[in-house]
Amino acid sequence: MALIEVVDLDKEYVNEEVVTPVLHGLNFKIEKGEFVAIMGPSGSGKSTLMHILGFLDKLSKGKFVFDGKDVSTLTDDELAEMRSKSVGFVFQAFNLLPRTTVLENVILPLIYTKMSEKERMSKSKAALSSVGLDHRLQFVPSQLSGGEKQRVAIARALVNEPAVIFADEPTGNLDSKSGLQVMQILQELNEEGHTIILVTHEKYTAEHAKRILRIRDGELVGDEIVNNRQIANGAKELIK
């Protein structure tokens, strides 16, 4: 059974009775453990698709089955519940809470789950350790480099042990070295069994995934396996 199954998915925005179609007739499946890149030029609807798959937005028509459960018609609170339990996000702009410590930033998703304070603490520290940031727990975001910020965001995305990690242009605001580190961490997480969905407009970044879904003008125009996969290695040493 596929982890994600999308059937005839449509999405349109209605603003003051003006209907803007964004996605049209999408059909695809994503299995557990895959590393998929959703690729397309800006305005193609790839971010909207990620928001729908990540329970941040609702679809207009069609069907979205997640882990065997039809999630097309969930209420706002049920969507929040899904975000809390099943997905983690890494955004292009990092989106950390300013003036809040690295540790508190990573704990944030766990605050909205039932869990003891001790458990929250140990899980957050473990997640930060896995991205090589044990020594930055009490720093605030403004004291970190871009690469470090994005690694905090990855730790935050990992901490609730989600079924899928979404990364929306995660290297977009980084220099190439830091970008490489981020891609290496994502590949390692995938090796460990995490399902990763990467959204990007760059072919080079997309080729770090195992499979590419091409989106253009709201339609799926390609679904291919990456043959010459880019492997980001050696970057991990730079972290430590």
Binding site: L56, A80, R83, F91, N95, E104, Y112, R156
Partner: protein, 414 residues
Amino acid sequence: MNFTPIRLAYNALSAQKTRTILTILGMSIGIAVVITIMAAGKGLDYMVMGQLEIFSPNTITVEVKVPATKKTSNDNAMGIATGITITTLKDKDLDTVLKHPNVSAAYGFVMGQAVVKYQNETKTSLLFGEGYNLQEVEKFAIDSGRLFTQDEEDSLTQVAVLGSKMSELLFGQENAVGKTVYIKGKPFRVVGVAAKRGAVLGMDMDKMIVLPAKTMQRRILGIDYYQEIIAKVIDRTQIKQTVADLEQSLRENHDITDPNKDDFAVNTMEEAAKMLSSVVNGLTLLLVALVCVSLLVGGVGIMNIMYVSVTERTYEIGLRKALGAKSKDILMQFLFEAIILTVAGGIFGIISGALLALVIYFIATSYNYTWLYSVPLSSIFLAIGFSAAIGLIFGIYPAKKAASLNPMEALRRE
């Protein structure tokens, strides 16, 4: 119980220390102003009520008046101030007043000013010439020594009762009783020192000297008339009739047939008290208006701070939602933030309001007003209730709006 929202609120507030401090400051100023004004109102009320008390409702006064003017008119006041001296109110009139069956006691009154000396100290003092029976008519407490006697007044003995402050000014810590002071160059033996009375209608009653009225007339002023006769009635219900009787008899004494040409005016203290209380009512109304305005200003301030601080956090709300927070979680966090701010602002506001009221108390007492320091409980409830309500409404309403946004939409409003 789950303390997570409290912790969230605390974390959010400490991440924004400046904003938090400004919000608490804004709230406490609003609360402090209301409490200060209401406490000051209470003190003022106490002071004025204390002054009203000296106007015994059983008292009738006969004052001199410029003929053909109304008794409370400007013409009368101007006439007296510019030197029209009415010399017709005399011992004969005092006897007439005393003979009225509804009058239990009465005395004549004169006022003046003179230089007073004791050893090297020279002061200018207000002189009150009053009757030996002063205490039968109004409150007048002696701290040490005694008031002068009828014999002393009738024999024009040169004796004096000092106001408490005047005694201090001339004698310091020494006991003044038995000493001799020189008033207008004439020796007067101090027989008593009055108890502290405070200020009445802006006049410091502790800085004056009381002499027997007759002694003051003959020895200091060189006159044989009074400025006022003060009488106490037995039956208050008959006071109007008594006033009419006295007007009639005094007219006969002064050979006046036309009431317009009266050179005196008979008043009851009740009228004076009524005038004063209408002033007090006006003041109270002013205070109520001030409290309303400060509530409004404080309220608008709190409204602004809460509304702006929540609105500018739309990004944070979006992020929290993206990370799994439900709308309810967001609302709880903002509710607890507003509660923490209100409680902190309330505590600071009460403390600073109470301190400000204390400062006013000290200033008023230093001017010798009989002020009261009291922070009315109602002012605390009013101020806290009002700012808490506004803080909660304007802290939660925008949060509710932001929490209902799509998380991505909220996130984009950085």
